[in-house]
């Protein structure tokens, strides 16, 4: 296996596991690099970070929150809005490792070849955002935060696992047997929020259709396959907001037809939806 075929995959796993490690050490050994969890944290005891969706749900309950968490949510939103795009989902979120494993097993066990009977719209995640905010307002409790597998897995690593880990297994089985990329690519409202935040970021994959041999390896591995509509047709940026910038397509491409580039909004051909 060539390094160029696993580069971004390995980098992503290092970032994901590295962040979990820092969070874990922050609790277990009092390291002051990254404390808290993915809902809200402190970087070097100085920079507050917070999950914008969690803060939005808290707003929906009618609560007034401290300024630290507002700054934190703004920092995160700006970082992904300008640089990362939807990179949270593939570079940070620990559930990504669970669902990637399910997607990999689907391919290896040829489950993908069996006719799919369960169909879910990829827009469910956006309805889930609205629903989460309504339920938060009705119940007075941030609704997604009490069942989010992301925070359950994240807290499990930091503070010890509980019975909530069953939910992760459920999502794994859902992705493996029910819907391909079911959770991350269809249902997860946090993914939807990050898709919206990162719609106009700078770093994106660019396709060069002149090099493309139509091997379709990229479409096999892509968890958001709708964003790769231009493959073999047009040389343009992968501009769909659902692209997680995971770089798997860049990894598997042997023809140098895909690569990360700085998106230039001044050029006319930025890959915007036509």
């Amino acid at each position: 296996m060539k390094w160029s075929n696993i580069k971004y995959l390995v980098l992503r796993r290092i970032v994901q596991l590295g962040l979990l490690f820092l969070y874990f050490m922050g609790n277990a050994y009092g390291w002051k690099i990254l404390t808290g969890d993915l809902s809200a944290s402190m970087l070097f005891q100085k920079v507050p970070l917070a999950d914008p969706f969690a803060v939005l749900q808290i707003f929906a309950t009618g609560a007034i929150v401290g300024v630290n968490v507002l700054i934190g949510a703004a920092v995160i939103a700006l970082f992904y809005g300008i640089i990362g795009g939807r990179a949270f989902c593939s570079w940070v979120c620990p559930v990504n490792m669970v669902t990637d494993l399910a997607a990999w097993l689907r391919r290896k066990l040829l489950i993908d070849r069996i006719e799919r009977k369960v169909w879910i719209s990829r827009n469910v995640r956006y309805y889930m955002i609205v629903l989460a905010l309504i339920v938060s307002a009705v119940t007075g409790l941030a609704a997604f935060e009490v069942l989010s597998p992301i925070t359950i897995l994240n807290r499990g690593v930091i503070f010890g696992f509980g019975a909530g880990i069953g939910l992760l297994l459920a999502i794994f089985l859902f992705d493996l047997f029910a819907v391909k990329n079911g959770w991350c690519g269809h249902v997860c409202p946090l993914g939807g929020v990050h898709a919206l935040i990162g719609s106009y970021n700078l770093f994106r994959v660019k396709h060069n259709s002149e090099n493309c041999t139509l091997c379709m390896k990229c479409k096999t591995v892509c968890p958001e396959v709708e964003v790769l509509g231009m493959i073999g047709k047009r040389s343009e940026f992968v501009a769909g907001r659902e692209c997680t910038n995971c770089g798997r397509c860049v990894d598997v491409c042997d023809d140098d037809a895909l690569g990360f580039q700085l998106r230039n909004f001044l050029e006319t051909n930025t890959g915007g939806k036509q």
Partner: protein, 283 residues
Amino acid sequence: MDTKAKKTQISSRRRFFTDLAYATGLGIMGGLLWTGYTEKAKSSPLTLRPPAALAEPDFLKTCIKCGLCAEACVNRPSNIDRDTGRPRPGTLKMAKAQDDVTIGTPFFKPREVPCYMCDDIPCVTACPTGALDVAKVTNPKTGELDYTMMEMGLAVVDSNSCIAFWGLQCDACYRACPLMDKAIRLEYDKNERTGKHAFLKPVVDMNHCTGCGLCEKACVTEKPAIFVLPREIALGKPGAHYVKGWDKKDQQRVQERVGKDVTTHDVRSAKKPEDYLNKGVEY
């Protein structure tokens, strides 16, 4: 052939309304399930929260479940075990799914690890959302943190199982109390059974008890005879119309109430007293 033709002949107008009904129906279904689960998830009335927590409904709204309080608690310098050089288990824990506490929120169980009421209250100052409100433990006169202002709960004595109430000598809770002689004092009483011994009964003062739970931790009985309950559970409420005639403040309160309606209005009060007194008793 016939059915297939029917299937394809749906007008775009019809399709729009069907899709609308489909999305609305599924949305309501999901919303109801989700609301039910969330309502259930927030009902944890016997939970002891960290110091300076907002009232439970506001706390649940505001807490973002980041665990910074629990980390500040376990990693405070005073928590280092002198023998091992490692931190002891922290007071605050983050609720897991099986804990009977809203998942991801901080709480503590005094019998396992009580709150040691640190001077610098690191858990409260670590909170980024204000779910732990620094103002609640700040002395308004000096502007400094004051751990005696904490109100995590209230210690309650079960006089049936407290062996001091039997006449045995035990003052474990009294000596463990960080606010000794204020939050817990010993009430002396004559033991009529023996005729020559004394009872030393622990009595909790709700004005001083912070609910730290050091008494519950120290209690010698198999299941603690003194234990901390949330103040909303442990305390009753006499109602505004009962007045302490000997208390100047309470008298003042009544005077300030003048002008407000203090009469009870219910089904029975709508009638004259003789009407219901002559009606007999209904079971």
